[in-house]
Symmetry: C2
Subunit: 261 residues, 2 copies
DNA sequence: CCCCTAATTCCACTGAGTGGAAATGCGAAG
DNA sequence: CTTCGCATTTCCACTCAGTGGAATTAGGGG
């Protein structure tokens, strides 16, 4: 009776685990609860399978069940694992404090991110604000790779084949202006290669510059500095860029010291 | 040849998914990389199984592989899921800003947490600091349930049978002073029932008071306020406690307004 | 109260997953 | 460069865990 479509993962890869992770991923930022039906829709999995997997995720503490509305939400466990990821990260451990100091010194925002598929994910984002009405740190927030300085610096830092693979994905998803966009992305990558950084303003009146951090045995990271409420100008971009280059050099030095550990 | 011990999960529950989650959990705060061997040791799973599951987790983006040292670390994906959890949380969305305002107004730390097994996990922790040398927000950080005001307030907020189940677990794990400790926990629970809050100083010179937040269709949360560099005094505790009660009432009002949504 | 919708459980089937053994890879020592 | 020793990965035959369509149950609205 079971007409399971043959699993493509082959000998490596565990189908149920993959599917369970897919279910967790179905909870995108902003969604609170999802019912099994919605999950089945979003993931394309059979409803009965979803029913069983969500139950397992509840038992494992990754989901909380909301009996009154027959639905689920991400449980606190996921942020404790996220916290473990951040405290484990040797890069964040080493340069987190430096980033804070630099933000205060230069009076601008400093961020550190790496890639999750086609998005950049902040590991840390320090917002400079003159008054202590500080923002909450947005660790975990995602921004699109192809539109941001962070993402383009990342692209400049990774190996050729992976870069081309990602560029193809952008082509597929952005509806309009693809050609101009891709050219712009490549221009940013060249800028990183020649100047060490690239500058982008994907949000109005925000100027951001970023540079890749490439270290053996670690994913490629991107470090950025940004400033709000300014007009984009090449002079300003290169000023911030020079700060960024200097700071990135200091970071790499610090990281080189503690890496072999 | 395969002599798999019969899976206890029965018809509900997916063994592979459970095991995969166990592997993610093996990365506790502070650990950077783990090899398959270490993971097998920590989880008690067969080495070959671990090998296959870690590969799946890499393919699913939850782990990064460090080829040079044949090991794995948590990938950025886990913090984006964590971020989704935080931005989805209706409680945090509603009272996050209020917490920040309250922290500034009362000049003390304000935190919001819920339970992950026997630990309390901060969803938000706003540290008051007179100078803007603010700390990074420690969302995701865990503190032991039985030793903290947060945890005891949580215990006071949950249903009887679940509470007794947890108390038994504490008995099992704490080596010394169990009896005195449990009595102390029960005293805190009584305090919550009579005064609305409990006060605990589990860290030297830090006074913390907490109160539960119980809402239909949501996990039980605990809200706390704390102050550093003070001596524990009942007068101070009840002063902060009254602030906390007032603030919690305001929070519950705000939450009642937006819950039915 | 009864229908309608959606989630859950049932069930027979089978291939996905298993774990011990063998092979492979990697680093260190000679 | 070769050999040894350890750890990880691959192989493989076996079988039970997992599957998904159908039946059932549970809610919620009229």
């Amino acid at each position: 009776m079971a007409q399971a479509r043959r699993y493509a993962g082959g000998v490596d890869g565990n189908r149920s685990l993959e599917r369970g992770i897919e279910i967790l991923r179905a909870f995108r930022p902003g969604v609170d609860t999802l019912g099994n039906g919605e999950i089945a829709e979003r993931t394309g999995l059979p409803r009965s399978t979803v029913s069983r997997l969500t139950r397992t995720l509840v038992n494992s503490g990754m989901l909380d069940e909301v009996r009154t509305e027959r639905s689920y939400r991400l449980a606190a466990s996921v942020i404790s694992i996220g916290h473990a990821m951040r405290t484990g990260s040797p890069v964040l451990n080493t340069i987190g404090a430096m980033m804070r100091a630099e933000s205060a010194k230069r009076r601008l925002n400093v961020g550190l991110a790496t890639a999750d598929r086609t998005m950049m994910v902040y590991l840390e984002s320090i917002r400079y604000s003159p008054r202590a009405a500080l923002r909450n740190v947005v660790a975990g927030q995602q921004v699109p790779m192809e539109l941001t300085s962070l993402g383009r610096a990342y692209l400049a830092g990774i190996a050729e084949p992976e870069r081309e693979r990602l560029l193809k994905l952008f082509k597929r998803r952005s509806t309009a202006a693809t050609k101009a966009l891709l050219a712009d992305v490549r221009r940013s990558i060249s800028a990183v290669e020649s100047d060490g950084f690239c500058a982008v303003s994907w949000q109005p009146a925000v100027l951001a510059v970023a540079t890749p951090i490439v270290l053996e045995g670690l994913p490629v990271y991107a470090l950025n500095m940004s400033l709000q409420n300014v007009d984009r100008s090449d002079a300003l971009a290169s000023e911030i860029g020079s700060y960024l280059n200097a700071f990135a050099a200091k970071c790499k030095e610090a990281l080189a010291g503690r890496e072999p550990e």
